[in-house]
């Protein structure tokens, strides 16, 4: 039910509320039912003519609408989520596209929207995307889902770890045993090919140039995040301790290798798509804290949230690519979303303690 709840506020929910409101104020475009990709709107060199609206950025924006709904129960967020998915389909001319990872992001967001709303179109979208995504699995590189349809022999973490999360969540909701088998098979392939067996650190991909090389020097935050998320989902279903151990190892490796050694803040990984990477990492790290109560990861997230809150743009309230420097404009949706996701995750981790709740 989407009855607005009277939620007691805390520091973290206040921050999330403000950050989300500022995001909507600057990026939500009511006439098109989409999020603007840049504020102010200008063209950038990484804008592909084929993708003027950035399908997968919109998918993460959909996730943010669901985060907000879960925090405050306001049905307006679900209405906008419904419009957004429709607009993505219309803008893209179909639900599916050439990038398997993009479809996975949208399917994950659609499934969360279904959880929140029980609107069958969201479920149908998630299942339609999943059916298409399964076609991306092939035997190049010993298995795994391809990154995109025109390049079926390039296998990477972004196209595989979110697929594990998706398949596992579909299994827990709808009980199709073949989805669980998919999740376990894909995770097994990831462990064998793209996760450092010693440290648990996750590499981005392999065979990008057709030379069977693994891109070990590509160290991105979000690859760690989605593997943590994948391991958590499988642990949730099977309760096998090795999955939880894998989630801990990768989260620890991310903290060791990606945090600023002095401030502990996560890196600025660049513009465009990379602006979203940190937001994805914190979403799944927060889930790990929810499940295990891991204190060092909780502290790491808190440090980042405090830094990011300090460095928001004073006029607009938006976060930039770096969480320890003021934003540069034009500011892309990706960076702004990562900031909002961080504050939303902190709010989800710190609901009001019992003694702070006002008497109702």
């Amino acid at each position: 039910m989407s009855v607005p709840l009277r939620v007691p506020t805390t520091l973290t929910t206040d921050r999330a509320q403000q950050a989300f409101d500022d995001l909507m104020l600057h990026y939500w475009d009511e006439p098109t039912g989409l999020f603007k990709i840049r504020v102010p709107v200008v063209h950038a060199e990484h804008d592909l003519p084929s993708d003027p609206f950035h399908y997968w950025w919109q998918a993460h924006a959909l996730d943010s609408l669901i985060d907000a709904f879960r925090r405050d129960g306001n049905a307006l967020h679900l209405q906008r989520a419904a419009r957004l998915l429709g607009s993505i389909q219309m803008q893209n001319a179909s639900l599916t596209n050439d990038y398997y990872d993009d479809m996975e992001w949208l399917a994950l967001a659609a499934l969360r929207a279904w959880d929140a709303s029980q609107n069958p179109v969201f479920k149908h979208a998630a299942l339609t995307l999943w059916a298409d995504i399964q076609g991306g699995w092939n035997e190049h590189c010993g298995g795994g889902i391809a990154w995109r349809k025109p390049q079926l022999d390039y296998k990477n973490t972004p196209a595989n770890a979110p697929a594990v999360i998706l398949a596992a969540r579909l299994y827990t909701r709808f009980g199709d045993a073949s989805d669980l088998a998919w999740a376990q098979r894909i995770f097994g392939w990831l462990e064998a090919h793209l996760i450092n067996p010693v440290s648990g650190f996750v590499w981005d991909g392999m065979n990008r140039l057709g030379d069977a090389t693994t891109d070990r020097d590509w160290t991105f935050t979000y690859c760690q995040g989605v593997v943590v998320g994948a391991a958590l989902e499988l642990h949730h279903i099977t309760e096998k301790p090795e999955y939880l151990a894998a989630a801990h190892r990768t989260a620890g490796a991310a903290l060791t290798q990606l945090a600023d050694p002095v401030t502990q803040v996560m890196p600025d990984e660049g513009g465009g798509d990379a602006g979203l990477f940190k937001g994805i990492l914190v979403r799944y790290l927060a889930q790990l804290v929810q499940v295990t109560g891991n204190e060092s990861i909780r502290r790491w997230l808190t440090t980042n949230a405090n830094a990011a809150w300090t460095y928001r743009d004073a006029a607009s309230g938006l976060s930039g690519r770096s969480w320890q420097a003021l934003p540069q404009f034009p500011l892309e949706l990706t960076a702004a979303l990562s900031g909002v996701m961080l504050f939303e995750q902190m709010a989800a981790l710190n609901p009001a303690p019992e003694d702070l709740r006002p008497d109702s």
């Binding site: 209405q79 419904a82 998915l85 429709g86 929207a113 709303s117 609107n119 069958p120 179109v121 979208a125």
Partner: protein
């Protein structure tokens, strides 16, 4: 035991049943008129008319207005009818001839029934049972799974020969049902099936029906077609209606967008059709209508179409000039409408056939034929005055 003098009319009934059994009267034959019977049995015409009425009620004869009375083409089981009518005091003849029948009791378990849907189904199940000489026990569950479980367990304990179950809303699994399916108990589901339970089911092809309704609107020129329903998850009839709506849109190159769906209405669930719930649903409907640009609505249920109709009226929208509305199931009115068309364009489900087939399947199971299939009952799209071309 007191010996009861049979009514005079029963002598006529018994004699005609004998004539049929002996082949003196065959299916399709005309039977003697009221007048002729009154003369030959030396009774009043009231008595002979009563005899023919009883035989017609039991579907042994059918009366054709102005042409006379005929033996039906498809005769019911005469031995059982005789027993049911208290005729055939000879016990040797009263042995049931329907194979597998022991108690002669059939259970019908359903959430609820009303004149828009369910009434004709009950009517038809009862009629089929009576024709086969079976007695029907009816239990309503009011849409609650615990009532359904209790009813099923109770009826099985009572020794019913078979069960016809119309499952509650939103149920994909019921341990009591699963147990009797695994025990090979004669069970037929009606209206909807359960994904988690491999039982026989007699249902409307709701996917095709909703697609037909949606295509009817597309053919009229509508592009923004909304879907309005109670929660669809785990109610196969509603899941299929949703999928039918969705696939008809994509077949015509239209997208099924989440903003076109309102599926959290609860007022039409069993026992919930009350003023407070209706008002709550109408608030949701009003916000829904205002939030997007639909010109047509597919309502999964008749009462939702009524709620939508009054919501649209309150918003100053005219049906069908501004908005078209189509739905499933309308109350059965045998009158021809003065306008020549019924008010609402709708899918008419053949409840009579559904009930008849369900009883038939139970009997087939009792004969030892097993067939865990899903049977589709044909539906009909009835054009009404609530759908038209969208405003230019």
């Amino acid at each position: 035991m007191l010996s009861v003098t049979p009514h005079l009319y029963e002598r006529i009934v018994a004699s005609m049943l004998d004539d049929i059994k002996a082949g003196r009267l065959r299916p399709g034959d005309r039977v003697p008129s009221e007048h002729a019977l009154a003369q030959s049995f030396e009774v009043s015409r009231i008595t002979s008319r009563r005899a023919l009425e009883v035989l017609a009620q039991a579907s042994v004869v059918k009366r054709a207005q102005g042409r006379g009375t005929f033996v039906v083409d498809d005769l019911p089981d005469l031995a059982r009818i005789g027993v049911g009518l208290g005729i055939n005091p000879d016990l040797a003849e009263a042995v049931p001839t329907v194979p597998g029948v022991r108690s002669g009791l059939i259970g019908l378990v359903l959430p609820d029934f009303n004149d828009s849907y369910g009434l004709q189904l009950v009517y038809s199940v009862e009629q089929s049972c009576t024709q086969k000489g079976l007695d029907l026990i009816l239990k309503r569950t009011y849409g609650l799974r615990e009532n359904e479980e209790r009813a099923i367990a109770g009826l099985v304990a009572r020794g019913v020969d078979g069960l016809i179950v119309f499952p509650v809303h939103g149920e994909h699994y019921n341990p009591v049902l699963l147990k009797i399916v695994l025990d090979k108990f004669p069970l037929v589901l009606v209206d909807r099936y359960l994904k988690g339970i491999p039982a026989q089911a007699v249902v409307t092809d709701n996917h095709a029906a909703a697609a037909a309704l949606t295509e009817h609107l597309i053919d009229l020129g509508h592009r923004e077609i909304a879907f309005v329903s109670p929660p669809v998850e785990n109610t196969s009839a509603l899941e299929e209606r949703f999928a039918g709506w969705s696939s008809a849109l994509s077949k015509h190159g239209l997208l099924s967008r989440p903003e076109l769906v309102l599926s959290n209405l609860i007022s039409t669930l069993p026992t919930q059709f009350r003023p407070d719930n209706i008002a709550a649903d109408q608030t949701l409907l009003e916000a829904f209508v205002r939030s997007m640009d639909a010109t047509a609505f597919v309502c999964a249920e008749y009462n939702l179409a009524l709620e939508l109709g009054s919501t649209l009226q309150a918003l100053g929208k005219r049906i069908p000039n501004d908005m078209s509305v189509a739905c499933f199931d309308v109350p059965h009115v045998p009158l021809t409408s003065p306008h020549g068309l019924p008010d609402l364009t709708h899918i008419h489900q053949n409840e009579l056939e559904m009930g008849r087939l369900a009883v038939e399947q139970i009997l087939a199971r009792l004969r030892g034929e097993s067939d865990a299939t899903r049977r589709h009952v044909a539906f009909e799209l009835v054009q009404g005055r609530s759908t038209g071309s969208p405003p230019a």
